[in-house]
């Protein structure tokens, strides 16, 4: 069969109703999906910004009001405020980048890889930042009159939080990046003659 003939056969689909869309079912599924995949990156950013700014603000204000003279705690609060504002800046850069229109599948893939790189960087930075906060908090707690039980409880909380953030980083971000890079490689290799 010649290719022209194949094209004619292919075009017969345009005039026939080979499929029917169940619009109600589609609408329900789109709605469910939109809720399910609701902008994970944006959500993480907002949580990080709000938690850092609020926690930092509370720490600084409470120590200043009490005039405690605890330099370590005030430094930690200031650090949290700075990190919160830095993530706010990164978020505005990401939104600007997202608004740029891509014109090709390869361009789309590159944009998706840029976004996942951004999420990886954000997640890695937060892991290191988290370690500093844990160290400073533990220093403050150990130098206060807290009971052993409270110290164990706070330590356990930090350990669980740290393990969870490592797991999230490996499970979602690194896996997704590998998937996108494989796809890009596949697309490029296909056209290397």
């Amino acid at each position: 069969m010649e290719f022209k003939e194949m094209k004619k056969i292919w075009d017969t689909q345009n005039d026939e109703a080979l499929y029917v869309i169940n619009e109600d079912a589609l609408h329900r599924r789109i709605k469910a999906k939109k809720v399910g995949t609701k902008r994970r990156t944006s959500f993480s950013e907002v949580v990080l910004i709000a938690s850092n700014l609020c926690a930092g603000g509370v720490v600084i204000i409470s120590h200043l009001l009490k005039n405690s003279g605890n330099v370590v705690a005030v430094t930690m609060g200031a650090m949290m405020m700075i990190v919160g504002m830095y993530i706010l800046f990164l978020r505005s850069q990401r939104i600007k980048r997202d608004q740029q229109t891509d014109v090709s599948i390869l361009g789309d893939l590159e944009n998706a890889i840029e976004n996942i790189n951004y999420r990886i960087k954000l997640s890695q930075s937060m892991i290191w930042f988290c370690l500093i906060v844990i160290a400073l908090t533990m220093y403050t707690v150990l130098n206060s009159d807290q009971s052993v039980f409270n110290i164990v409880l706070i330590s356990a909380f930090f350990i669980v939080g740290f393990i969870m953030s490592r797991w999230e980083h490996k499970r979602f971000n690194l896996g997704k990046k590998k998937q996108l890079l494989d796809l890009k490689e596949k697309l490029i290799n296909e056209f290397e003659m």
Binding site: Q13, Y19, L26, K34, I105, K186, F191
Partner: protein, 164 residues
């Protein structure tokens, strides 16, 4: 652009270009559940893309780019409803398929299904009459590379048809 305007454009595109979307779905998904899943994924991506459509290209070119991109990515990952993150009612199918009118069309789909994801996308674009220039824009690769690849695909399909 308001959400109502986006919804209106989305519905219009869906009505006018459903054949285009179904061809892509049928070429990348091979059972009813997968077709539903891919169609819904494409529909979501098309809906999201409405606001960024700047009319610098034809709607069909835009839809092909969005739908092919989604289909290629979809084939590389697990089906969404298997990961347990979303509770989706699959008792009602989104698309109800009818029998293909021509056995040769079924044969053509089978042959397209044997190709890798990238060749599949090029074959669909070729069969739908896109120029090399448009194909190169949609895929983000050079026209000369498209040309070489297309010649191979044409030769492959013609040889297969002679054998069958």
């Amino acid at each position: 652009m308001t959400e109502n305007e986006i919804n209106h454009i989305f519905q219009t595109w869906l009505k006018q270009h459903k054949a285009l979307l179904f061809k892509i779905v049928r070429s990348y998904a091979f059972n009813e559940e997968d077709r539903d899943d891919l169609f819904q994924e494409i529909a979501i991506q098309v809906w999201k893309s409405v606001a960024s459509f700047k009319q610098q290209s034809a709607v069909t070119t835009w839809l092909y780019r969005v739908a092919l991109n989604t289909a290629i990515k979809w084939t590389t990952k697990e089906r969404k409803h298997q990961d347990g993150h979303e509770s989706i009612d699959i008792s009602q199918h989104i698309i109800e398929s009818h029998q293909l009118p021509d056995d040769r069309l079924a044969w053509l789909y089978e042959e397209i299904a044997q190709l890798n994801e990238v060749d599949r996308s090029l074959t669909l674009l070729l069969l739908d009459g896109f120029s090399y220039k448009e194909m190169s824009k949609i895929l983000g690769i050079s026209e000369s590379n498209v040309g070489v690849k297309i010649n191979r695909i044409k030769k492959h399909l013609t040889t297969k048809s002679e054998k069958s």
